[in-house]
């Protein structure tokens, strides 16, 4: 079977779920698929999904790598708040755009380094190690903004959040490029396989000669960098750093995106593309609820119900049953191929 065929099989469940979610929205809200160009940028509900989903998509890229090493990064929401605050503080203190971005991305890398050191050098369990920054991070961000929303009016920084490049909103461009870049790097080199090896058996992979310690730190730093990008976008979008609310609970959405994408929390095999589709599914549900016009009291219940259905469909029990039923039907005709997980 060709590589493309393999890939398609891998992401087929996610694509089907996304299509089903979009169709469901189109039923509740008929004008859903209309896209036009307004103010020199694409305009329409599907664009909103791509645009609003940018923070979770970016977080999901880093989270996929972390989860593939059998880790988890709970701090990404707080890191978003820190980096947004750093960017806003830097630009309002008169620094240039390039320096501001470098500082904010550097803050994200530093947060990732901190997590990575706790996990790989001190050997603290990832969920505990990253919990520290999850709690402390928002406090750090609030110290930077002094508890208020730090607003700025630098056109360059704002462009990252609400500008458009060839009609494509910048946040969309950033997450698509970041996703493509990371996917290429991990899949066109042995890096992805090494990450999977650590996730499946760190001890064995160390014995086999993989420098697990450095690789783990690098993975958490990548997650921090993705969170920094997401934080800059979130701040640029509202032209201000809101330390209390930026990225609040988004770590959970990012983990959910990875899970919907079919990557196991037990580590090992991963797919960046599937996680990104997972992020879009989550945002499609969010946007769909907003468009549907239901009273806000129903938001969380509807979201939970849809996600429950998605996860049940992907659960091992249901999958095995489906395969079993299919095999029953086709067993007389041909030999079935094993489903690629």
């Amino acid at each position: 079977m060709s590589a493309a065929g393999h890939l398609l099989r891998r992401i087929a469940p996610q694509l089907v779920t996304l299509a089903a979610t979009l169709l469901l929205i189109a039923i509740v809200f008929p004008g859903f698929f209309e896209i036009s160009i307004a103010n020199g940028r694409l305009y329409g509900s599907p664009i909103d999904i791509l645009n609003r989903g940018a923070p979770v998509a970016l977080l999901a890229i880093g989270m996929t790598l972390v989860i593939a090493t059998k880790g988890i990064d709970l701090s990404v929401g707080a890191v978003m708040a820190i980096c947004g605050a750093v960017a806003a503080a830097a630009i309002t203190s008169g620094m240039g755009l390039v320096a501001t971005l470098a500082l904010a991305l550097g803050a994200g890398l530093a947060c990732g380094l901190w997590n990575g050191l706790l996990v790989s050098v001190l050997g603290i369990q990832p969920i505990v190690a990253t919990l520290i920054l999850m709690v402390a991070g928002r406090g750090i961000a609030q110290l930077i903004t002094e508890g208020a929303i730090l607003t700025f009016s630098n056109e360059g920084l704002i462009f990252i959040g609400s500008g458009a490049f060839f009609s494509v909103p910048m946040p969309v461009l950033i997450w698509v490029l970041a996703g493509a870049l990371v996917a290429l790097v991990v899949r066109r080199s042995a890096l992805g396989m090494l990450i999977e090896a650590i996730g499946i058996n760190r001890r064995a992979s160390t014995l086999a000669g993989i420098n697990a310690r450095v690789l783990l730190i690098a993975v958490y730093m990548a997650s921090g960098l993705c969170a920094a990008l997401a934080g800059i976008i979130a701040a640029a979008d509202i032209r201000g750093a809101d330390a209390n609310n930026a990225g609040l609970w988004l770590e959970l959405d990012a983990i959910l995106a990875v899970v919907i994408g079919g990557t196991s929390l037990l580590g090992g095999r991963f797919s960046i593309l599937a996680s990104l589709i997972g992020a879009m599914i989550i945002q499609a549900v969010n946007t769909g609820i907003l468009l549907s016009g239901f009273p806000p009291e129903y938001n969380l219940i509807i979201k939970a119900a849809i996600i429950l259905v998605i996860l049940v469909m992907q659960s091992p029990a249901v999958r095995t049953t489906l395969i079993f039923l299919r095999r029953d039907k086709t067993s007389s005709q041909s030999e079935t191929e094993p489903v690629v997980q």
């Binding site: 609003r52 002094e146 208020a148 929303i149 979008d237 509202i238 016009g293 938001n299």
Partner: protein, 320 residues
């Protein structure tokens, strides 16, 4: 999350504990919740300013969101024999015993901004804003502004289930009830944040024919309105003209938007709760005038006629 001012205040309160105030000036203790929001930071700043204006020696204690710290602060105020206590309670319950101690020491207690579930005899009065009334003022403004013309309203609610969201919604609905030209066509929560305010407004615009169907936006707080204004602009419409914007709180940033013609009205939730409290205390101490049990602060309406840039300059350094 301590702002600089709160730090200074906390340090000052700590050092004042040891200092003996020699002057004959009144000494009033103020137990503040913390500085969880810009509004609260502004309340702290204004309380200090109002005290200074009246020559009151203010002992400030920041509770960092903990009731036990507030009870400790109150006990230390009682031990120091202050003339009165201002209390912004972090929760509603559990105040009975410490309020009784204050009563036995004959120290009047004034509640600021929030209420307690204790007997009304245990405190002198409470100063606060009426959330329903705030919504009502916003609604009345829209009734007058539309002057009988048909107007479809979209509403950005606060956090679902929170009392400001429930009350501000009710007050607004009461105000527009009976005016058939006004109709709320969409209502969704924006969680009191800019990001969600912008995201929800984007979906409102898509759902209502690119916004052509929407004549006014009512947001339960200014932050959501600021986010929504950006969404309206990005959709190629003019906020303030194509879509009227009315919101509540009167934070500095909405005045900037108002000065740019992008917001039409805001109802102030004044952070100056201490002013009325000090006035009531002064009257009570002078000749024993009992204030009413609830002193409602003014829910002032601001429009572009109120020189928004001047208000912005006035408010921007309060710590919002």
């Amino acid at each position: 999350m301590l702002s600089k001012k709160a730090w200074i205040g906390a340090c000052a309160a700590a050092s004042m504990g040891f200092a003996v105030s020699a002057a004959t000036a009144q000494t009033i203790g103020f137990s503040q919740i913390g500085s969880e929001s810009g509004w609260r930071a502004a309340e702290t700043t204004l309380t200090h300013q109002e005290a200074e204006k009246r020559g009151i020696d203010l002992k400030f204690a920041d509770a960092q969101q903990k009731q036990e710290n507030q009870i400790k602060a109150l006990r230390s105020f009682i031990a120091q024999g202050v003339d009165a206590i201002l209390l912004a309670p972090v929760v509603a319950t559990g105040w009975d015993s410490v309020l009784e101690e204050a009563q036995e020491a004959e120290i009047p207690v004034v509640l600021l901004d929030r209420m307690v579930d204790s007997s009304k005899d245990l405190y002198l009065t409470a100063v606060g804003s009426d959330l329903v009334h705030e919504g009502n003022v916003a609604g009345k403004w829209l009734v007058d502004a539309t002057d009988g013309e048909a107007c479809n309203i979209v509403e950005l609610q606060g956090t679902t289930g929170s009392s400001p969201a429930i009350d501000r919604k009710k007050g607004f609905e009461d105000a527009i009830a009976g005016h058939d030209n006004l109709e709320i066509i969409r209502s969704q929560t924006g969680d009191f944040t800019r990001t969600k305010g912008k995201e929800v407004m984007e979906s409102f615009l898509k759902a209502e024919d690119g916004g052509k169907n929407i004549c006014a936006l009512y947001a339960h707080n200014d932050d959501m309105a600021v986010g929504a204004i950006q969404a309206i602009k990005e959709a190629g419409l003019k906020p303030g003209e194509d879509i009227l914007v009315v919101s509540i709180d009167a934070v500095p940033d909405i005045f900037k938007a108002m000065a740019a013609g992008e917001a039409n009205a805001t109802v102030e939730l004044t952070p100056n709760m201490a002013g009325p409290a000090f006035d009531a205390l002064a009257a009570y101490m002078k000749d024993g005038t009992m204030p009413p049990k609830f002193i409602q602060t003014e829910s002032k309406l601001f429009t572009p006629d109120d020189d928004p840039m001047a208000v912005y300059e006035e408010k921007k350094d309060l710590g919002y």
